[in-house]
């Protein structure tokens, strides 16, 4: 025994829940294919429902606005609370912040407000913003893209007349070909409809402009995140003494200073600071640049800024005296220069005689137990403990050399060193900065800018034309600046013959209307 569908009278098996021909349930009415599919699709799983809800959440513009507001607030907090890498104090953060913000210091630290741009919550906000940006874009871009790629070239005359902008003119002598030529001249890409209408389109890219801006923004966000990659964002201070070559940390080259100069106005205000800097790569001088304030040296993505300078005693100039045993200081037999930052372990002073530096105290003092010590690392009160030896290693005498003018000579033996001068050493303080994310940031900003130009200045115009007897109906729509399209349509109509029954030149564009 066979059943029949009540809706279409087609055959229906006993177990069928709906008619295979028209989709009607037994005893019900016929359903559309989409409704049928919806009715018969497998139920949504909890995971699927969760994904759908998540999508809808992020696709909401309201959510996007809230996220952007959060981002702004987070960035503002980061600029209001003094950041860990920026404060000028020797104290570590856990000592500094309770002093800087009496009640809230430690709370700020725990919340990550003291390193806002590297905190988990800031990271999370940016991640959510990027998610929202991508999902919002896809939600709108995919249907837009589909619609733009499937235009409807066929439009009946009535539909063209109901477009926002339209004109009616006389049919040109050349027929359809003349209309095509007219539209082509205006830069329209043409598609012929199957029912005799003509479709032209221009500036479609303009519709994609906002999404190009979004891609640029995402690139900027990605560039910001590269700061978390070790070695991508390097900022470090370095001291270079005049004439010294210092290897740049984390790079393969070195910087040499051929001299630091400070200039002052007569009233004592600083006029200029500059360093004659050289880049030494593989032992070769490859670049010369005078680093001034706001005029850094750039090499291999590194930038070297002039930030500060200092001077300290650099070299002690001494005379070598030969003395009769027990007698006063005698004749000068030579001279020597002792480096006060890093003295050599020994100096050859005369043929067959050298002086060994047993100990060196840059800031000499005596500790409570009576031992000689250096009180600090600064070259404030330098003292050398020296032993005079001949080439066989026999000790000729000892000396404690106090590098201070007028200091007493404490020595025995036939030789001694006597201070004649202390020459200062000048250091330039440079700040090196390398940010590898920079080119990506520039690319991101360029794309954003390009996207803006496209969005604002490229109008997407769509026009349809149809010949109807001795009349030509021309209509169109645009996403922006409808007045421009209206005047364009009017211009085109002006080149066409007047409507039948109207005098040429006297208001030939009879029905130019705006929506």
């Amino acid at each position: 025994m066979s059943n029949k569908c009540t809706a279409c009278q087609g055959p229906l098996s006993e177990v069928a829940k709906f008619c295979p021909r028209c989709g009607a349930p037994p005893g019900g009415k016929a359903r559309s294919k989409a409704a049928l599919a919806q009715a018969t699709a497998p139920p949504v799983t909890a995971w699927g429902q969760f994904l759908d809800d998540t999508w809808d959440f992020f696709a909401s513009v309201k959510v996007a606005v809230v996220l952007i507001a959060l981002l702004v607030v987070g960035a503002a907090v980061g600029s209001l609370v003094e950041q860990e890498n920026l404060y000028q104090d020797w104290r570590p953060p856990e000592l500094y912040y309770p002093m800087r913000y009496p009640t809230w210091g430690l709370t700020f630290m725990k919340l990550g407000l003291t390193h806002a741009y590297k905190s988990a919550w800031f990271f999370a906000i940016i991640f959510l913003c990027c998610t929202s940006l991508i999902i919002c874009s896809l939600q709108r871009l995919i249907p837009l893209h589909r619609a733009l790629n499937h235009p409807r070239p066929d439009l009946p005359a009535g539909a063209i007349r109901s477009l926002p902008e339209h004109v009616t003119a006389g049919a040109p002598a050349g027929g359809g070909a003349a209309v095509e030529a007219l539209l082509k001249k205006k830069g329209y890409r043409l598609t012929r409809g199957k029912t005799g209408s003509l479709y032209g389109e221009r500036g479609r890219l303009g519709r994609y402009g906002p999404y190009i801006i979004h891609i640029g923004l995402l690139l900027c966000a990605a560039a910001a995140f590269t700061k978390f990659i070790p070695g991508w964002d390097v900022e470090q201070g370095m001291w270079v003494a005049d004439g010294e070559t210092v290897k740049v940390p984390s790079a393969s080259f070195a910087i040499r200073s051929d001299g630091f100069t400070a200039g002052y106005y007569p009233d004592g205000r600083p006029k200029m600071f500059q360093t004659e800097a050289r880049v030494v790569d593989n032992g070769q001088e490859v670049l010369k640049h005078t680093i001034k304030v706001n005029d850094p040296l750039s090499y291999q993505g590194y930038e070297f800024y002039q930030t500060t300078f200092k001077s300290e005693p650099g070299v002690a100039k001494v005379n070598i005296l030969k003395t009769a045993p027990g007698g006063p200081a005698g004749d000068q037999v030579g001279s020597l220069e002792l480096d006060l930052k890093s003295p050599a372990p020994q100096y050859q002073v005369l043929p067959g005689v050298h002086v060994v530096v047993n100990d060196y105290f840059p800031d000499f003092g005596v500790d409570p137990s009576g031992k000689p010590v250096s009180k600090s690392r600064d070259i404030k009160n330098p003292v050398f403990l020296l032993t005079w030896q001949d080439d066989a290693g026999k000790i000729l005498g000892r000396q404690a050399l106090f590098v201070a003018k007028g200091a007493e000579v404490v020595a025995d033996g036939p030789y001694r060193l006597q201070l004649t001068d202390i020459v200062d050493r000048h250091y330039t303080g440079l700040k090196l900065h390398k940010d590898r994310s920079f080119p990506f940031m520039i690319a991101g900003i360029s794309i954003v800018f390009g996207g803006m130009l496209i969005t604002f200045f490229l109008y997407h115009r769509q026009v349809w034309a149809r010949l109807e007897g001795d009349r030509l109906i021309l209509g169109g729509r645009t996403n922006k600046f409808p007045l421009g399209l209206r005047s364009e349509l009017k211009q085109m109509a002006a080149k066409l013959p007047p409507l039948p029954g109207e005098a040429p030149g006297a208001g030939s564009v009879a029905e130019a209307t705006g929506g």
Partner: protein
């Protein structure tokens, strides 16, 4: 016939959402598993310390990675720091006892000249290797504020402790014994 329409959103939307959900969960996991810092600054306890290669007194290069798999004590010091001078005899004695058992010491000197450091080492009979942090970069990397500061690194190559005070022999022995036992 076209594809059967499923209920809810199309598959590409679900795939995109799933991607963000998974990336988000992965990020949460990374943040959760990252070793927590004991203080606001410094090398995190439980994380591997930054590697360095510095010159020893005899001009050889010594790097932390060379000592991988051993218990390492890294001591930051300077001759002008009185607590460092108090601590040095303790370091010397503990090193004598523990070096045989596979404990390595690295004494990082802060920006002092060779003559001063050598004289200091001679005066205190230091036998463990001293490296010269001429530009203070390793000291910066390890976020050393007070001197002396000592890092203890376990056999697993991770920081076991950061101690910002001069250490007694008892304290050092306690740490080293427990790290050797692990």
């Amino acid at each position: 016939m076209g594809p059967v329409l499923a209920k809810g959103h199309p598959a590409w939307k679900r795939r995109t959402t799933a991607f963000f959900v998974i990336v988000g969960l992965a990020l949460i996991l990374v943040f959760a598993l990252k070793p927590q810092q004991t203080t606001g600054s410094g090398v995190a306890v439980g994380a591997p310390p930054p590697d360095f290669a510095l010159k020893t007194m005899d001009g050889k290069s010594l790097s932390l990675s060379q000592l991988k798999g051993k218990v390492v004590l890294v001591n930051f010091w300077a001759s002008w720091c009185p607590p460092c001078r108090d601590e040095t005899p303790n370091l010397v004695q503990v090193y004598d006892r523990f070096h045989q058992q596979g404990v390595e010491f690295v004494a990082v000197n802060l920006q002092e000249n060779t003559v001063t450091v050598r004289a200091f080492a001679d005066r205190y009979h230091i036998t463990y290797p001293i490296v010269l942090d001429t530009y203070g970069r390793v000291t910066d990397q390890f976020h050393v504020t007070p001197l002396p500061t000592t890092y203890l690194i376990g056999k697993d190559g991770k920081v076991a402790a950061k101690l910002e005070q001069p250490l007694s022999q008892g304290v050092m022995e306690g740490y080293l014994t427990s790290l050797l036992a692990k």
